[in-house]
Every structure is written in C-alpha cells, then in structure tokens.
C-alpha cells in the first residue's frame, strides 16, 4: 500500500489543542511525522514587561488554564526571592494546598482524557466526576474553579477559614477512596493495559537526552522533581515521596500520575491539618532591586522555569517562561516513529500537552523503515539532505 499523508489538526474534532501533525503512514504504521505547533502566540512575555508586579500576576495566571496557580506561584516566588522577602508560613502552606489540589485536578483530567483517547469513556466520565470534588474544594477556597487569584507578591490574597478547612478535610476521605480505586484500575484493567503497555517507550538514557521533565521523565526512572531537588513552599515539611516508574511507556506515565495523586492527597491532608497560624502576607515593596533569578516550580506537567530579570523598577525587564510541554515535545517527536496511527493521540497525550503556552517544530524524518528511534545526528543529516537551502553556513 502506498504511503498516505494524514493531516491531523489544527482544526480537528479529535484534538483539543491547536497542533498539527502531518503523519506519513504506511498502512497503520507511522513512517514519518511532522509536528507543527502553536498557532496562538499571544505575546505574554512581552505584555509582562509592560505591567507592574500587581497587575502581572493575573496575566501569569492566564498563561495556562489548568496550571494557572503554577505560573503565578513561580513568578511570585521569583520576585519574592529577588526582593528577599520571607513569606509567612501560613501563606506557604496555603499556596501548597492550592498547588497540590491543582495537581490533583490536572492529573484526574489527564487520566480521563487518556481513557477517552483509547475509547474507554467510562473511566473518562468517572474521573471527571471525581475531579468535580477537587474543583469544588478549590472553588470554596478561592471562589474560582480555574483562575484562583490566590497569589500576590508577599503572600496570598485570601485566608482559609476553619469552615473551609473542615469542608476540605471532609471531602478528602471519599477522594482518597476513589484515587485508590483508580490505582487498582490503572494497574489491573486489561483494556487499559493492552493499549498503554509498550507504547511510546523512552529508555532512561533517551529520556535524559531529550530533556524530558515531570511525569514523563519520572516514568522512565529519572527522579527529577523540583519539589525535592530545590524545595520551595511547604514541601520540606510535608511527608511525601518522589514517584518513579521504570516502564517508560504510556503505562508508566499513567502509573506515575495515579501514584502522584496519592502523594498529593497526603500533602494536602498534611497541610490542612498542620496549617500554621499567623499572617498570610507581608507587605511587599513597590520596586524590586536589580537582579535575576531562575524560578523553578514543579507544575502538574513537569518542571516549569521562569527566568526573571529585574532592573530596579516596578516592572520586570524580562520574564522567560519555559513550559513543561515545550521541554517534552522533542521526546514525543522521537518516540512516535514506528508506532501505530492509532497510538498517536495516546502518545501525544501522555505528556499532557498544554499548547496554550508553546511552540512550533518540524522535527522528524524517517525514510527508512528500520525499527527504533533515529539518532539526532541522523536527523540533522537527513534534514540537510532534504532542505539544503535551509542550512545555515
């Protein structure tokens, strides 16, 4: 059968994000694949340079809908470090609670999406039903389901009342029971195992080489987790472990995510039960001194890096946002070759792509039908031979 080109996206009922795959397939096998991302460059970084620290935080929240707290915390954390502000422990704990609830709702959402992508709609409905409990907790605490607006430079904007704490604690047991069920389901349900096992495998070396972050890296056995490596907020105090798995495929990434749900629940429970008394914010100066910082944060999807440079005014000189999705794209492009067309959505979704932030790449080429993943040098050589005019001297 001759090769066919299947163009998926950017307007495609199967994809929820503006991304375009040009899949060159031989029957059901992917021979070659071209990824084309980001149809929506929004200029957030440029806009951030025009706003003072008060007004930039709502902007940072709107970099991404799911991980809105991640972006605003990463930014506020960096600015506080430049200003050498020590934010009060209560504020740290409240930020941690919101961050971990956000991780839970992101992972539950992901689990549902992954199940939907393999046509297992029942799990999709159930996880999204249970995600409502997390979202309700967040709504009770912050008033919103996604853009929480809890951060400000110097602390948090809203305190948690005892009623809110008790309501959140009351929701936890049911959630814990459900999450434990999902752990069993992910590990035992045949219909998921058959589609996830051995799909999109990355060895530990490959995962390191292609710079993967977050659950993608941890599924390949790399224990990089910013929460442990470079502790911030209340992660020093809370009891939790870095979750890793050695499978390295979509199955491994699913397992890492459900186990992280359990860890998140432990952190949330600890923070809710041990919430210290005290103020929730310290007054922040208007201007930040000259300085630069790489603020790292473990977002649900992986390591988020905000590089912030200040110049002594009330605005940043430059904020450079490196989203986890961008870091993971190289590995996705690499592990798609020689997989089935039917597995594209699963493999792409396995990194939990969030394209409201990112990019556009045209990376991959495999004319020969040999098994395995081509090396990067090979890739460069092929690219040159195909597009001689594009090569820079």
């Amino acid at each position: 059968m001759p090769e066919v080109v299947v163009s998926i996206g950017p307007h495609h009922p199967a994809l929820k994000e503006p991304v375009n795959f040009r899949v060159i397939a031989d029957g059901e096998k992917i021979v070659r694949l071209e990824l084309d991302l980001s149809y929506n460059h929004r200029g957030v970084e440029k806009a951030a340079e025009q706003r003072d620290f008060i007004r930039v935080l709502p902007l940072m929240e709107r970099v991404c809908g799911i991980c809105s707290h991640s972006h605003s915390t990463a930014f506020a954390k960096g600015i506080e470090e430049i200003m050498q502000l020590e934010i009060p422990p209560r504020a740290q704990y409240i930020r941690t609670i919101i961050a971990e609830l956000e991780r839970m709702h992101s992972h539950l959402l992901w689990l549902g999406v992954a199940a939907h992508l393999i046509g297992f709609n029942t799990l999709f409905m159930w996880t999204w039903r249970d995600r409502e409990a997390v979202q309700d907790t967040l709504e009770e605490m912050s008033g919103n389901r996604v853009h929480y607006g809890m951060n400000e430079v110097g602390g948090v904007r809203r305190d948690l009342t005892p009623e809110q704490l008790n309501a959140a604690l009351a929701r936890l047991p049911a959630l814990e029971e459900r999450v434990n069920k999902y752990v069993v389901m992910v590990n035992e349900e045949e219909t998921m195992l058959i589609r996830f096992r051995g799909v999109g495998r990355l060895s530990k070396e490959e995962a390191l080489r292609y710079g993967t972050v977050g659950p993608t890296a941890r599924a390949s056995g790399i224990d990089y987790d910013v929460r442990k490596d470079d502790p911030y907020l209340a992660y020093k105090d809370a009891p939790w472990n870095v979750v890793t798995d050695t499978h390295g495929d979509v199955y491994g990434r699913t397992r890492v995510r459900v186990w992280e749900l359990q860890e998140s629940l432990r952190i949330v429970r600890f923070c809710l039960e041990n919430l210290p008394e005290g103020p929730i914010r310290v007054p922040a100066p208007k201007n930040a001194p000259k300085g630069e910082i790489l603020s790292r944060y473990e977002a649900p999807r992986g390591e988020l890096a905000h590089f912030i440079r200040t110049n002594g005014t009330d605005k940043v000189e430059r904020v450079d946002i490196r989203t986890p999705t961008l870091a993971n794209w190289t590995s996705v492009a690499m592990c798609l070759v020689n997989q089935n067309i039917a597995d594209i959505p699963v493999i792409v979704a396995a990194i939990d792509p969030c394209l409201s932030c990112t990019s556009r790449i045209t990376l991959l080429d495999n004319h020969t039908k040999k098994a395995g993943i081509i090396s990067f040098d090979e890739l460069v050589r092929r690219y040159r031979s195909r597009n001689p005019e594009d090569v820079q001297p």
Binding site: P58, R129, E140, S142, G143, Q164, K181, V184, E188, E189
Partner: protein, 119 residues
Amino acid sequence: MSVLKEMFENLLSRPITILYPKEKVPIPGAFRGRVAIADEKCIGCSKCSLVCPAQAVTMIEGQREVEFKGKSLARKKRPQVKLYKCIRCGLCERHCPTGAITLKHELSSSGTDGEVVVT
C-alpha cells in the same frame, strides 16, 4: 474487573448530574461575582484603575463630598467598570482603601454588549 462491579452499582443508583434549571449549586462564600461600587464610600483615589489588569476601570467625573476617617473631603472622580471587560480578579477590591469597590456574590449574566458599565 473492578469496572464491572462499579458499573452495575451505578446502574442501580441515581445519576450524579445536577439538573441545572431544577437544581442549583450554592454559590461558594469566596465567590467573586459582579463588581459593585458603593458611591458614598469612594474617595476617588483611582487606585482601582491603576491596579486593574484588564484596564476595565476608568475614572470619570463625579464630584461629591465623602466622609473618610471622620473627615469630610471633596472628591473629583469616581470609577466606572466595564462589566464585560472585568476578569473578576478582585485586585480593585484588595487595593481599595475604603472598601468602596467590591465583588458581590451574585452571578453576572453574559451579554453581547461590550459597553455595559457599572458605576
């Protein structure tokens, strides 16, 4: 097959969906809804218009005598909020020195007229 067990349990129980027009979820206490301005408290300091990330707040003419900390002072301006530009971030409420601008618990319905204002 833990799925099967749960499936048939669900088949016998009620669906979890909230049937919207008949049932409604309570609005949480922390909810940020429609913005409201108490004109008698506003001293016209324009702080709200400075901190608004969406630039929904503009200062318009509005001379009035207001009580502030026991003193009477004459303000020149008052804020005006473009309702459908507002992103309900609550920064104006947070930075208002007198508590004149607040976010209410009521929902603000959607609309197509971008020029609806709250004063």
